[in-house]
């Protein structure tokens, strides 16, 4: 790592730490942005590096959301009574209970989806191409439909997560969730960056480029595919847990297992930025968040129409994303050596 990138990282870190105080009105938006970046980055491990385009990471996100809230409530109060009373609060968390519950909940929300990913990975990751995509799509929707029928987590009426304890009011709540999600983002970035410098990334790329050949070279592809998925699941679960607390209300199909929104968003963000790169999903998520908030503000009511059009346009015209475009334009910057004569000869051939 050279000096310039250190300056960049420290600059971003400092900006992240002071951002909620510079833009106090956008704290919630910034927290959501952090969660979105986490989701896009972890989707990229799957879709970008490994070539397994999944719609199913929403499963781990929703699972994490429900688990975190359930643990947070269930540690101190009977869960069934909590969900039954709905919006009417019969139990109140003391501050220490809230934070203890949140900590335990986040651990569970990260660990259990990882285990789930490991368990179903062997069956699901054996599928190839579009079968995998549709299967994971089905998995996400099935999880949403089924969790919508389970009484103890609120069934159709939803699940209210414990409200933030009465210290410092709305300001403190925003800052707490912002730093939580920013922490998750930093953790994810460090982990993913560390992964991308190892042989593991090369193996994932080999699987993407030609799985049969990778297997023939003696790589136990299944092991690596499952590991990759478990890493995704870990961070998706964590992000889900944080998002559950941030939104304050969990509904099975509209918030948690929202394949129509979040499930597609994470794919789109990664594609918009450029899949298969470290910075692509981060830039993509940031851009997408601006687009999305713009739609929600200026096209209120028509936001999904605009979103659908955006999906089609991105997919048709920018399938390589921003980073792919930059790479085409300035290949030297990406460490590619270009032989001008050879390039011209190829252009002429075309």
């Amino acid at each position: 790592m050279n000096k310039n990138s250190w300056i960049l990282y420290i600059g971003i870190l400092v900006f992240g730490l002071v951002a909620p105080f510079i833009f106090p009105a956008f704290k919630v938006q910034l927290s959501i942005l952090c969660v979105l970046i986490v989701l896009a980055t972890t989707w990229n491990i799957q879709g970008g590096e490994m070539g397994y385009n999944t719609f199913g990471n929403i499963l781990f996100y929703g699972l994490g959301m429900y688990l975190c809230a359930s643990v947070q409530v269930g540690m101190f109060f009977p869960l069934a009574e909590w969900t039954e009373s709905g919006g009417e609060k019969t139990f109140v968390h003391t501050p220490s209970q809230f934070f203890q519950g949140m900590a335990a909940g986040l651990v569970v929300a990260a660990v259990v989806p990882t285990i789930v990913a490991g368990l179903i990975g062997y069956a699901i990751l054996g599928l190839r191409g579009h079968y995998f995509a549709i299967c994971t799509l089905g998995l996400g929707v099935a999880a949403g439909e089924i969790s919508g029928g389970i009484e103890i987590i609120g069934a159709g009426q939803g699940f209210t997560t414990p409200p933030f304890p009465n210290i410092g009011g709305l300001e403190a709540r925003g800052e707490f969730f912002y730093f939580l999600s920013f922490g998750a983002l930093v953790l994810t970035f460090i982990a993913v960056r560390a992964i991308y410098t190892t042989r593991f990334r090369l193996i994932l790329n080999a699987i993407r480029d030609n799985e049969d050949k990778a297997e023939a070279m003696g790589i136990e592809t299944m092991k690596y595919k499952i590991t990759g998925w478990m890493i995704s699941a870990f961070f998706c679960g964590l992000a889900g847990g944080i998002m559950g607390g941030l939104v304050g209300y969990i509904d099975s199909t509209d918030v948690a297992f929202d394949g129509r929104e979040m499930g597609v968003f994470m794919v789109l963000m990664a594609i918009l930025g450029g899949k298969g790169t470290l910075w692509g999903p981060i830039i993509g998520a940031t851009l997408f968040h601006f687009f999305k908030e713009g739609f929600w503000t200026f096209f209120l009511g028509w936001q999904y129409v605009a979103l659908g059009v955006l999906i089609v346009v991105i997919v048709i015209y920018f399938p390589e994303g921003l980073m792919g475009w930059l790479r085409e334009k300035y290949p030297e910057r990406f460490g590619e050596v270009v032989d001008e004569a050879d390039r011209k000869a190829q252009v002429e051939l075309k």
């Binding site: 579009h130 029928g149 069934a155 597609v264 028509w302 999904y304 129409v305 997919v315």
Partner: protein, 297 residues
């Protein structure tokens, strides 16, 4: 609750008949999906939304006092042009590309359609009342709405017409040739671009018929599209591409499965069980295929 099905045979018969009649409709939608999958190698996530749109056309005719059964004729004609328009705007740009790109692009279309229908027709669950009455069987223990029988009959008629058309007509032959080998067909003078457009149009028209029948028999709602897509996908992978009796059989099987899931697990788990079945079928298929691959080792 679980034993209800076995203690009362009439419920079993009811579920079977309902499921079979429903399954024929599913098979019709799946046939459209198999057609475009085979010819263009595209999985259309918006398939279900085309069905629902077709249903709304019949529903509107009903609102304006025309008998909704005429929707079976009008809806496919309109949907054919909708299909051609979608092809010209979006699909022809993703035909030769990676399959995932086409899945995502049609996902975008699906979201777009869902919302447009939501604006245009409202988020209420609606149905077009055909006023066909019901048929009672087995001492009035089994109730079959005539509209279901009507819809199954119409689906079969349309399926037969389409099969004959694909076998006999010039366009049908061109479509089949393109499905077998697009490049060779192009060399032999088939305008594949036109064939693709026609295939997508025919698929949309089939969805229109199915949608009109669904609006008569069941209910329609702007957000109900995705389950129909998943059902038809499931039917196609169970039956295989280009296996028409297989599509009909697995369609009916899926219908019966759904009715039983509805009775045994409860209505709230109906859609969930369909999606779960999809995952199970794919996983089963994966293990079956991996066993075949082991011969090579």
């Amino acid at each position: 609750m679980d034993f209800l099905v076995f203690q009362y045979p009439m419920i079993t018969i009811q579920a079977c008949l309902d499921g079979l009649l429903l399954g024929i409709l599913f098979a019709l939608i799946a046939y459209g999906m198999a057609l475009q999958w085979g010819v263009m190698n595209i999985i259309n996530i918006a398939q279900g939304d085309l069905v629902i749109l077709g249903g709304y056309i019949a529903y509107f005719m009903y609102l304006y006092g025309i008998h909704p059964a005429w929707g079976v004729i009008v809806s496919p004609i309109i949907m054919y042009f909708v299909g051609i328009a979608i092809y010209k705007l979006v699909i022809n740009k993703v035909v030769d590309r990676d399959l995932f790109i086409s899945i995502l692009a049609t996902f975008g279309i699906s979201i777009l359609f869902m919302q447009l229908m939501n604006f245009a027709f409202g988020a209420d669950v609606v149905l077009a009342n055909s006023g066909y009455g019901t048929t009672m069987l087995f001492d009035n223990n089994v109730v079959l709405p005539n509209s279901k029988i009507f819809s199954a009959f119409i689906s079969i008629v349309f399926a037969i017409c389409l099969v004959v058309y694909m076998k006999r007509s010039k366009l049908g032959r061109a479509i089949r040739a393109t499905a077998q080998n697009a490049r060779a067909a192009k060399i032999l003078g088939v305008d594949t671009e036109k064939v693709y457009a026609a295939t997508f149009g025919i698929n949309a028209a089939l969805c229109g018929v199915a949608g009109a029948l669904i609006s008569i028999t069941f209910t329609i709602h702007p957000y109900m599209g995705l389950p129909y897509t998943i059902r038809s996908f499931m039917i196609v992978i169970v039956a295989g591409l280009g296996n028409l009796p297989g599509v009909a059989m697995s369609g009916m099987g899926l219908g019966v499965f759904e009715e039983f899931a509805d009775y045994i697990l409860g209505t709230e788990f109906r859609i969930g069980s369909v999606f779960l079945l999809l995952v199970l079928i794919l996983v089963y298929r994966r293990f079956k295929l991996s066993r075949k691959r082991e011969y090579l080792k």
